[in-house]
Every structure is written in structure tokens, then in C-alpha cells.
Point group: C2
Chain length 367, copies 2
Amino acid sequence: MASTLIVPDCSSSTAAGASCFIPVNKIRIRRSVFHVHQQISIARWGHKASLLNIDTRRLFSPMALTVASNAETSAKVIDGKSVAKHIREEISTEISRMKEAIGVIPGLAVVLVGDRKDSATYVRNKKKACDDVGIKSYEIHLSEDSTEQEVLKYISEFNDDPSIHGILVQLPLPRHMNEENVLNAVSIDKDVDGFHPLNIGRLAMRGREPMFVPCTPKGCIVLLHRYGVTIKGKRAVVIGRSNIVGMPAALLLQREDATVTIVHSRTKNPEEIVRQADIIISAAGQPNMVRGSWIKPGAVIIDVGINPVDVRSKSPRGYHLVGDVCYEEACRVASAITPVPGGVGPMTIAMLLSNTLSSAKRAHNFD
Amino acid sequence: MASTLIVPDCSSSTAAGASCFIPVNKIRIRRSVFHVHQQISIARWGHKASLLNIDTRRLFSPMALTVASNAETSAKVIDGKSVAKHIREEISTEISRMKEAIGVIPGLAVVLVGDRKDSATYVRNKKKACDDVGIKSYEIHLSEDSTEQEVLKYISEFNDDPSIHGILVQLPLPRHMNEENVLNAVSIDKDVDGFHPLNIGRLAMRGREPMFVPCTPKGCIVLLHRYGVTIKGKRAVVIGRSNIVGMPAALLLQREDATVTIVHSRTKNPEEIVRQADIIISAAGQPNMVRGSWIKPGAVIIDVGINPVDVRSKSPRGYHLVGDVCYEEACRVASAITPVPGGVGPMTIAMLLSNTLSSAKRAHNFD
């Protein structure tokens, strides 16, 4: 039976002193977290066709770093919205160049099954993002009671269609379908999600290169690069070990020569381990779990969590979004931090667009 | 320019007080270590067809734990030689049962290219181990100047041959061949090495099962299981991040709910991190690198290193083998430790036999 613990709501978007109730048994990181799963659909919109398919090393001017607004804070804000906008502009320019040079327009196909409103929203957002940069998007919308065979048939057609360079299957699928079967049916050359085990295996192995990297973790690393954060030789802690975010984020950090620890639901004393990290990537899906006392002074924090917190009395929407990290507390200790929203979120879709462009370039041997 | 540092040779198999010279620049863990590579050929002889294809949970009687011989020590010796013998007996029994029930004999094919003496020895040892348990082995020995195409042709034939359930390509291959191409040609169903990226990807992903697991890391985990070492919730440190040992060992520990950190050549202050570990798996290929002061009291140590140390004046062979861990020092601090030799080494070939049996069982749907 869950008891509750009153903790200060330290998110930056609520009035100071407000409290939220977190069940004590949720203080530990859960193995499977609803809010992380909520992000699957976002995560599915972005990857990298190769680890270097965008110029992740280009640093923003130091002027781009803005200090968090609270007077007590010192952490720099890692502005994912701004970086993502910049990347989308770069992608748009590259697409125009490719179209002019060889007449090819990147194409992204999306398979949506059922009538989930959130899934429909994600698909709509993706379509708009594609339109904005010049990627042609194709959508197949099947009814909830479609068969797995029908989905596989469309995937097969997209696999064979040379005008399509990326294929996304919007998750979650209806329960009567085998998600693994469906995802594995996507051609490895068009798996812009990077969820295929062959891609993950290549990501894990030294001397191998994945075709695509899952977009959310890639977005995290690109943020670190663009803000000039040194990864090599640093202690990094990833909180959460999902296939979509935590695990590939850890593999990416390791490829960049960080010393990586994954903290998860079975970790004892996670705060002690997190406190050793120079770089924290949190994808636990636990609102405000990482407190100021968990953070090493000067650490850099990438907060992947997007957790709705109930504020029915204060917002007509009834909730607001907070990260896994107590933003206000963290701002006083960390050297840099991503806000929620406006941090990792916008990077995910930018990485999808980047992956689709890279796939098209690779298919047409265009550099 | 490498300077040298005199450190006591703390291995158990040399006279107390002898010293060895280790270049200072070797004190850090090297990225690519000769002695780890030396083990490739051993490592190639064993895996698991599924993560549970042998009864890894069966505990030895506590009587099987023997205290290290030095009077000052307290650590229990994890006797890999004995465990491996026990597993080979189990495999032999299973092979007899399968042969009687369905008339199938597991088959293992080995492709050896060139005239390296060490490779020839490994192949011979493997053949003998197969003979001992009743696995039929097939060997193709090609000359050093064979073409990659010839190797691929034999692999293709083995892939198609239903009497062969496992295929090994003895590494290293001659320089004019592309190792990745050759290894990738082995059918995923017969990749008893478990080195295929698809297997590694499945190993990394929650909810997926690899067909085979690389044998040396699997041997490490089986030793922990057989000696009743709790992994879940423990801090584990893996030293080294090779595709063959370190990386898959870390993935296996994580699958068992340990909190895992990989220490590697770019890690600063590795001793601080190692000192936090309840379980240490070392695959650095650095003789006596892990000192007593690096070890948390009561830790369990699996030492994968097999490093030849020059003792020309004392041995007609000119060298003896030591692990990555200072055995004598570690014995005074750890609760249990594998010796070198006689620890992980014998487990590798046992896991290969196990993987080959599992592959045959799977091919014939025999339980």
C-alpha cells in the first residue's frame, strides 16, 4: 500500500511553496514508467542515419547560454528549442540542396493504427515538421481492428518503395498485434527509429556503426555537443534503462568515452551514484525525483522526463509538465540544465528529420 | 615515452617478493589489449543458445568453496575448472539423451585460415572438448593466402548443412580479409559465438532474447550463479569494454538487475570506482592491475585476464600466467575470487559446448 510523502514542488512552472504528493513507493525508480512510455511516440520521430550525419560538434556561441531566470540560480539553460530550430533550418537547407542537385526529396512513411488521440497528435506534429523542412510524408491510418497482416503488408510496400527513406510505426499498437514482429518488419535501411536490434547491437559494439540511432538519446548527446560539454573521460549517470532512451543513451555516452553507470529501479541508494556524475541523463519518468542534494556541483543535466503533474486548481488544462529533476533545486547546483518543456523534447523530432534526410542521402549516395 | 614503475608481483604463482616492471603508461587500462585479444580464440569456443540453456542457478554445495591457500587470505576460491567439468558432464549426459531420443548429434564446424600456432592449438583443444562430450566437429583449414570468397563459400555451405548447429571462424583472420564481413556471413541460427550484432542488440534490449551469448561473459555469470552470488541490486564494475568480454558482461549483469559501471582506458581514477563494486569482472588484459586497495572488503572478483609475465630466470617455459587482479592482495580483501589459470578460462569452452548443444536442441525442437 502506497503511503505518501509531501515534497516541495520545485518545478519552475509552479508557484514557490506549492507541494505535490508523491507516493513513497514511487521514490524508487520504477522499472516501467508510464511517462517514459508516453514519450515513445515522440521518440519515434527522430534518429541519426550515421553518428555524424549532422554537425553535432558545432558549438553555439557562449552568448547562447542563458542563465536560469531565478535570481538564486546559476545553472545555464540548455535551450533545446533553440538548438532544434537551428538543426531544422540546417536540414531544410540540405534538403533544398539535394533536391536541386539530384532531384530527390526525402520521404517518410507513417503507419498509424487505431484512434488514440495522443497518437494522432504525434502523427500530425510529425507531418507538420516534415512539411516545414521539405520532407514528403506519407500516412497510412488503419482502424483499431486491423490485422497484423495488414500492417505488415503496408510496411512491405513501403520497404519496396524507393521514394520512401524512413518508415515509422506509431506506437503503441493495438494489443492484438505483436509489436516486435511489426517493428522487425521495417527494413533496416529505413528504420529511422533505430529500434531494430541490429542497430542497437551495432551501437553497443566498438568498431561498428549503426544505420540509425534512437532519436531521443541522440538528441541528448547533440545538446551536449552543441553546448560544448566535454564527455570524454567524464563520469556519466543515466537514470532509467528503457530500450528507447536510457539504454541507448548509455551506449552513446560510452562511445564518447564517458565512464557510464545506469541507475534503475533495482539500484540501491541511487542518489549516491547520481552525486558522482559530471553528466546526468535522466529518463525515469518520475516527477522531481532528482533533488538538488543528488547533484554534484557543476554537473550538467539532461532531463528527458516529461511528467504531467496535477494542478487542477491552478490551470485550466488541469496539469503542467515537469521533468525528472527538481528544476529549481538543480539550478542552484548544476552548471547547465535542460528545461522541461523546451529541453530534450524538441530535439527528438529534429533528430527524426535528420535521420530521414541521412537515409535519403545514403540511398542516393549524395554527400 | 614510457617510464617504468616497479610493483610487487603479487600473483600467487611466483615467489613472494619478486618484482615485475610495468610501464607507467600501461597502468591505465588500454583500449585494445593484446592479452584480451589473445583470448579471442578461447572466447570463440563457447556461448549460450538461450540465457537459460543450462541450469546456471544450481548452487554448488558450500563445501565446494575452498579457502585460498595462503594463510593470510580469507577469500574463497571460485573453482572454474571444477564448475566447467561439472557442466561438461551435464552436456555429455544431455547429448546422449538427445541421441537416444531423436538420433541427433550436435555438430560444430570450425573454419581455420592460416598457420598460426596458437590458433591451431585452440582448434585442437576445441576438437578434443567436442569429442569428450559427444559433439561432432568439422574443420576446414585454409591456407594463409586463401581469398575471403573461399571462406565465405565454406561458411555458406555450413549454413546450409543441417548436421551443423554451430559455426566458428577462428580469429584472427589474415589481414587481407574483412573480419566483419566474414563473421556476419555466419547464420544467426548457428552463430554460437554470439558476436553477431543482432545477438548483441537483443542482449542489450529489455524484453528480447539473444540466440547466443558470448561465451566468456556468460561463463563469468554462470560462475556467479553456481557459487550463489547475488547479482540483483548489487554494484558491479566491469573493467574493459571489448565486444567479446567487457561489453557483453556488462549487459548480462544489467539484465540480472545489477547497477553496472564500465571502467575503461579513458576512465579517470578507476580505483575509486572499482572500490565501490560488490562484484568485479575484470577483462583489461593488464597483469596485476587491480590491487588490494582497489577492492571493497567482501567483494566477489571474476578475473578474465590471462596475462603472460616474463619469468625467464625461473621457468623453462619463460613465462607464467597471471590475471588482471593481484591475486595475493585480493585474497586478503575479497570474499571470493577466480584464480588464473583455472578460473574463467575453463568456463569459456564449456559455454561453447553448451551453446552448440542448445543450438541443436532448438533446431530439432528437442527439450
